[in-house]
Amino acid sequence: MFKRFQIIFMVIVLVATPLSVRADITVSLTKGFVQKNKDRATISTTFNVDHAHKKPNKIGTGSEDGDIHIAGRDSVVFLPMVAEILNGKRENDTFKFLMGLTEGQEVSLTGVWRLWFEHPGSEDQIQKKNSVPIPDNTNPDHIFEFHPITKFGNFDCRDSFLPVADGGKEFRGYSADKAFADYEKRPGTITKTTNGIMITSNQAKYNYVEFDMRLTGKPKEVDDGYIVLANVFNAGSSDEEEPLTEQPRRMIFVKGSPPGDKIATMSKGDSLHVLGIPRVNLNEVFAIANGMSGHDEYAFGGLPYEIIIVALLED
């Protein structure tokens, strides 16, 4: 009798738990936006600065990443968003310019686009002109980011793509095995609609990751950067170790940044030790949506992702 109770209890828990804990959020994008940006590193826009950090984040671990957060609205993406300057302490002139802006002031901005469910909140987000509310603080609920910013006003920020360090402290990101184990299993559903593509997932962890990447092909130059497929390994791993990902993943480099300059000279088989941040791979999302026929929605094993390389690290 007790054993039967145990089994029934287990089944009830099995069914009830997913029903109670699923907190999926959807971001709805226009097909044109996805098609235009799927193989680009950055987007240029006019950005209304609504709230900004008064000083850069500390440098340490976890969220102490040295970034400067700016919340605002833009004229191209039309989603709730933040923009982040990498290595805030190094970008002193840009920071002074930011502090001189008034609330709501427009500024031209170019940044690496980043869709990621790190701070998705609880409401679905739909890409629509003039529909984005003015944020209340520097970190509103958002799925879209410009991260890192590459140009803010007239300030070129590509020199911020360096190890995040201040004096003796250096920010290193999460270990590759921990972070990529999570990225590989992020839930994701792609829904193709008449006018756009919806991506559904839940809150993500592990923002920055440190890893070794080994190129499995040659870098492909795109308008504003380089894209390369690479296998992923723990930092300092030997050549005999198995890659951490099921297949090579896309790595995104910004043209004119130190990592971008480096990758332009590399070829298949070469390795790099890097700091990166994940974003949704819109190239895969677009391909999946295009492959749907008769299905309007498809859930699959993992949210397609790629890694933005923000710094080359010392071995």
Binding site: I7, V11, L14, T216, L229, A299
Partner: protein
């Protein structure tokens, strides 16, 4: 005795496997119903009716004349097969047809004035009101007026997508309910059967292992040319068919083996039995509504725990 002894885990594997098979059947049935009822096309028809219905073309004309003209337009008529409504309609096609109707199929280039006057010439109705509201915000620019018309259509399509999603969810629940009752897929009963019959349990677990080795029902993406990371190829692994072994197992575990209303002694089933059935069915319906991919993932995870090692990998994407 720990909770996670071998029998309990095997029963868990079994019930998850049964949920997966039922979810696959539910998905297939839902797709069949969607195709039979032309769900997507019908929703689109309803959305277009909301936009264009109730609008005559001339004073004293029939209320749906504008809608009829829309569907009679060659750009739309060419999308209809055997009078079936298309499942998708590109916004630019919608705008082209509306522009053409408003400007009286004017040959040559069309100006903003033609568009505006076409709207003004319509008798009172939904389209006239909407078009005039759209042109007011267009700064006398045809391109802006057409963009506003496109946005009007897209907003309507967002609503259509919402209807479609809700209708699909409703059908999922209806099909799950029917499947559960027809097959008597009572979770509590299934658990009892698996718990009490080691032979059946072993057969189910073995078949669950086979299912876990199959590719996940999904679309997978591969960059076949490693030098071109912008050109993926996609592979569809539908996985929506049950094998004969799986069908046989479902036949052994599910079904109405007892009289629905009376026990073997001819007495009515007690309230407790009915309550147990109700809870068992409800759990099954909830489980099926979570969908096949969800149960596939859970099955893979629990098989990895149960058999202390990862199940053989599905083929590399």
């Amino acid at each position: 005795m720990g909770l996670f002894n071998s029998t309990v885990l095997e029963v868990a594997v079994g019930i998850i496997f049964i949920y997966l098979l039922l979810s696959i059947l539910c998905t297939s049935a839902n797709e069949w119903v969607a195709a039979m009822t032309r769900r997507r096309g019908e929703m689109l028809r309803k959305g277009i009716y909301q936009l264009l219905g109730g609008q005559p073309l001339k004073e004293g004309g029939q209320s749906n004349e504008f809608l009829k003209a829309f569907y009679a337009h060659p750009l739309i008529a060419s999308l209809m097969h055997d009078k079936r409504h298309p499942a998708y309609l590109a916004p630019r096609t919608f705008v082209a047809v509306i522009t053409d109707i408003l400007t009286g199929s004017k040959p040559g280039s069309v100006e903003f004035d033609h568009f505006e006057k076409g709207g003004e010439a319509l008798p009172i109705g939904n389209v006239r009101t909407s078009v005039l509201a759209l042109v007011q915000r267009s700064n006398k620019d045809l391109e802006q007026a057409q963009l506003a018309t496109e946005a009007w259509f897209k907003d309507a399509m967002d609503r259509v997508n919402g209807w479609y999603k809700r209708r699909t969810q409703l059908w999922t629940i209806i099909i799950a309910l029917l499947l559960t009752l027809v097959a008597n897929a009572n979770t509590i009963n299934i658990v009892k059967k698996l718990g009490n019959d080691p032979v059946l349990r072993t057969a189910v677990v073995e078949e669950a292992k086979v299912r876990a080795q199959k590719p996940r029902p999904t679309i997978s993406v591969e960059y076949a040319d490693q030098d071109d990371p912008t050109n993926p190829t996609i592979t569809k692994n539908e996985g929506n068919e049950l094998s004969q072994n799986e069908m046989d197992l479902l036949g052994q575990i599910l079904g109405w083996h007892d009289n629905v209303f009376y026990d073997k002694n001819g007495y009515s089933w007690s309230k407790q039995i009915w309550l147990e059935r109700f809870i068992g069915w409800l759990l099954t319906i909830l489980a099926i509504s979570l969908g096949a991919p969800f149960w596939f993932d859970i099955l893979n995870k629990i098989i990895n725990i149960r058999f202390a090692g990862k199940a053989p990998e599905e083929p590399k994407k």
